[in-house]
């Protein structure tokens, strides 16, 4: 279980996270919604130890991420997919995927490479193992980013606006893969996902729970169907406002020229 307890994070005088608490149990797919600057990405960066906390506590399966020793162990349990892909530009796609499993998990190279090839095939990139990131499109890079994360066999998968840098077509490619991943979760025993996104419709389809961050505070934490119910999340004016702005399939006629 990932447990975020009263986390405070400040950048200078600006409080980005103001007492956020959240738990993610195994098997859940939890989506964090909220407008830009609400602290969603910062929360993810606190969980994987990229930002030091100014208050509160975060544990991953009981490991406190503020303690360097425990953080090192916690990082073997989770994997992160980034908005800007962050692939290693000087390594082949295959090496991008196998590096950490080999060095951190100390798994044998052939076993890891076999898994990497299987993962690449599952995201439609079977022929790209020997390519370099610079030779791939954005959507392909992000699919490699997902493979790199999955090769760690993570118990928890953190996804930080993974489609925000992609055009709609590439976004669809990546979401299709994440959709499959999430569907696998319902069987149980799979990867738990914590998902920061602006793709509201997609979140609605794959999430078991949705939380809403507003100005560094977590104002709503509800099962997906209740979040979108008129007497649930939608009863909250801030969320109603957010969702009306985000409505993805707004007919062209409604958009002022």
């Amino acid at each position: 279980m990932m447990a975020v307890e009263g986390v405070v994070k400040r950048f200078g005088a600006h409080t980005v996270l103001d007492g956020v608490s959240l738990t993610v149990a195994p098997g859940e797919v939890v989506t964090i919604l909220g407008s830009s600057g609400s602290g969603k990405s910062t929360l993810i960066r606190c969980i994987n130890g990229l930002e030091a906390l100014d208050g509160g506590r975060i544990t991953v399966d009981g490991l406190d991420v503020s303690d360097p020793r425990q953080l090192a162990r916690a990082r073997r349990l989770s994997a992160t997919v980034f908005q800007m892909f962050n692939l290693y530009p000087h390594m082949t796609v295959l090496r991008n995927i196998t590096l950490a499993p080999e060095l951190v998990l100390r798994r044998p190279r052939d076993e890891v490479e076999a898994q990497a090839h299987a993962l690449l095939a599952s995201v439609g990139l079977a022929g790209k193992a020997d390519s370099y990131p610079g030779q791939l499109s954005g959507g392909q890079r992000q699919r490699v980013g997902i493979c790199r994360a999955l090769a760690m066999n993570p118990r928890y998968l953190l996804l930080d606006e993974v489609t925000s840098a992609l055009d709609p077509e590439m976004t669809a490619e990546v979401l299709a893969i994440l959709g499959k991943l999430a569907a696998r979760q319902s069987g149980g025993g799979g990867t738990t996902m914590l998902f920061v996104t602006h793709e509201v419709e997609f979140a609605r389809r794959i999430s078991t729970r949705i939380v809403f961050l507003d100005q560094g505070r977590l104002i709503v934490d509800l099962p997906t169907d209740q979040f979108f119910a008129a007497d649930g999340g939608l009863a909250h004016p801030r969320i109603r406002q957010f969702l009306s702005k985000m409505a993805p399939a707004a007919p062209l006629a409604e958009i002022p020229a």
Binding site: G49, E51, A79, N86, Y88, H90, L103, Y132
Partner: protein
């Protein structure tokens, strides 16, 4: 007196031996400079005392004339019981000063790495050492190799000063031959060509290395303008 290169024939062996010595002292100096530049560059991005010390070293060695450093090493150190011969003094001096200039290049190569790439390595659980060895240095050196080449070319040029500590490298040899033959024009023409040849060889080598290392780096490598400290405190 017409330009007549044949006057050099009797001294060709001496001159070529000088050129070879220059090449040797420079090659070893470049190896030392590269090693020191990499180590100092890595240290200099840090915020702790090691970083401050590395930056102080760079400032000191860049702000003292090379000839003074050479004199200090060759004539000063024996006063306190440290004797190093002219050749190894040359290698040491070139390594020390080249390391100072080169470290700045390596440092900016490190600072230009897209911070997210290093963050990806951190969250995957790689150790600090593995991140430096597998991610930070390979990317930084790919950016840094060309400007490092300029530093190395400058080292070859600076090596002429080593003639002042009795090293029979090519400049010192040429001066001897010029005063012996009274044909400075031919002798120094040879010297010009020798340095041009040596530095050109360094440039060619660097270019080839740069092309080889960067053949797959279409984009997504070093982010221009990225100034974050990549080895930040939240390891």
């Amino acid at each position: 007196m017409p330009f007549d290169l044949t006057v050099l024939t009797p001294h060709l062996d001496t001159l070529l031996a000088g050129a070879l010595l220059t090449a040797e002292v420079c090659a070893l100096g470049i190896v030392g400079a590269f090693t020191l530049a990499t180590a100092l560059g890595l240290l200099a991005v840090g915020r702790g005392w090691a970083g401050r010390l590395a930056r102080l070293y760079v400032d000191v060695f860049r702000n003292v004339p090379f000839v003074v450093q050479v004199f200090f090493l060759f004539y000063g150190l024996p006063e306190v019981g440290v004797y190093i011969d002219a050749f190894w003094t040359g290698v040491l001096a070139l390594g020390l000063v080249g390391g100072a200039y080169g470290s700045d290049v390596v440092r900016s190569g490190i600072l230009a790495i897209e911070p997210g790439v290093v963050e990806a390595a951190k969250v995957s659980g790689l150790s600090r050492l593995a991140i430096i060895r597998r991610v930070v240095l390979p990317i930084a050196l790919r950016t840094a190799i060309r400007p490092l080449g300029s530093v190395f070319v400058n080292l070859v040029l600076s090596s002429s000063i080593l003639s002042m500590i009795t090293l029979d490298e090519v400049t010192g040899t040429a001066r001897g031959v010029a005063s012996e033959t009274y044909r400075p024009f031919e002798v120094y023409a040879f010297l010009l060509a020798a340095y041009a040849g040596l530095t050109y060889a360094v440039s060619l080598g660097i270019d080839a290395l740069h092309r080889r290392l960067n053949r797959h780096m279409a984009e997504n490598g070093a982010a221009p303008g990225a100034t974050h400290g990549v080895m930040g405190r939240t390891a």
